[in-house]
């Protein structure tokens, strides 16, 4: 395969005719090879002919690449930028597929992730906990985080659901949900500071 500079890739992909077809074929082969290797741990999730699926992802990625050539800023090699787009296309679809049968509410409820952020649960162990650091931390989380933040954190940090999939179920997008969670973490951090608590000291006390 010939080595092209970034400008040569851009010129070839923007030019009409055979030169563009040749560049597209080269790029497609490169992306397929990269995805086939990078996604090897997802073969079971893919569920059908993996190579065919990788071809589909690359087709979708090529369309996006062609649509977004003008947004390539030249901060990296053109091919690195193209691989980045192909990986995003593939992972978005594979994550959707892997988590398609999992309900957000069920995940956080069944796994106990939601209840760890609530203090209204009665039980013999709860009385003892109320006096210690764990109960205090749980109460702080209840007071500082919104229901949306608690649910998202529980699903992502404790339930292992990808941010992207949680966002889809909350009718938002990954970027916006990251900001929502970040806002929650900042609130907790400020609260600990106001209470004069150092996170590392808390961890040490927990043993």
């Amino acid at each position: 395969m010939e080595q092209r500079s970034n400008q040569e890739w851009l010129d070839a992909l923007k030019s009409p005719g055979a030169e563009r077809d040749r560049a597209l074929a080269e790029l497609r082969a490169l992306l397929v090879r990269g995805l086939n290797y990078a996604l090897r741990d997802w073969r079971r999730t893919a569920g059908r002919d993996f190579e065919a699926l990788a071809e589909d992802f690359c087709q979708e990625a090529l369309l996006r690449i062609l649509d977004n050539l003008d947004s390539f800023e030249g901060r990296s090699r053109f091919t690195t930028w193209a691989h980045k787009i192909a990986v995003r296309v593939a992972l978005t679809e594979l994550r959707r597929k892997r988590w398609q049968d999992v309900s957000l509410d069920k995940l956080v409820a069944e796994d106990g992730a939601e209840s760890m952020m609530s203090t209204d649960e009665a039980g013999p162990e709860t009385e003892a906990e109320r006096t210690d650091l764990m109960a205090w931390m749980k109460r702080i989380m209840m007071e500082e985080l919104t229901e949306k933040q608690r649910k998202a954190i529980a699903a992502i940090a404790f339930g292992g659901m990808p941010l992207e999939e949680v966002a889809r179920r909350m009718d938002t997008n990954r970027n916006a949900l990251y900001k929502v969670i970040h806002d929650g973490r900042v609130r907790l951090k400020r609260r600990l500071a106001r209470e004069g608590m150092n996170p590392q000291d808390i961890l040490e006390s927990m043993g």
Partner: protein, 91 residues
């Protein structure tokens, strides 16, 4: 027997909660007032990967991307796959 089972279930649950709280506290401790969100980090991910593959320190050049990758599981997974794809095609 029943009480023993109940106790061990409670003990396991308490252990699980403790582990989760610790991970939460670590996340809070690592939180910065200003962080890149996923799309901003994604925009710089190709540059970050190339710097790393050149044997340089991308965290020194793009510390906010490094921090985002430490905080965001989705983006970290994408970055690792990107590196994997690049290593498979540029070796």
């Amino acid at each position: 027997m029943f009480f023993k089972l109940m106790f061990s279930r409670r003990a396991r649950r308490a252990m699980k909660e403790m582990t989760r709280l610790k991970s939460m506290i670590n996340m809070v401790d690592a939180t910065a007032e200003i962080e890149l969100a996923c799309e901003e980090a994604h925009r710089l991910l190709d540059q970050y990967a190339d710097v790393l593959l050149r044997g340089e320190d991308p965290g020194a050049l793009l510390p906010q991307v490094k921090h985002h990758l430490e905080m965001c599981m989705d983006c970290r997974e994408e970055f690792e796959m990107l590196l994997s794809a690049l290593r498979a095609t540029t070796g």
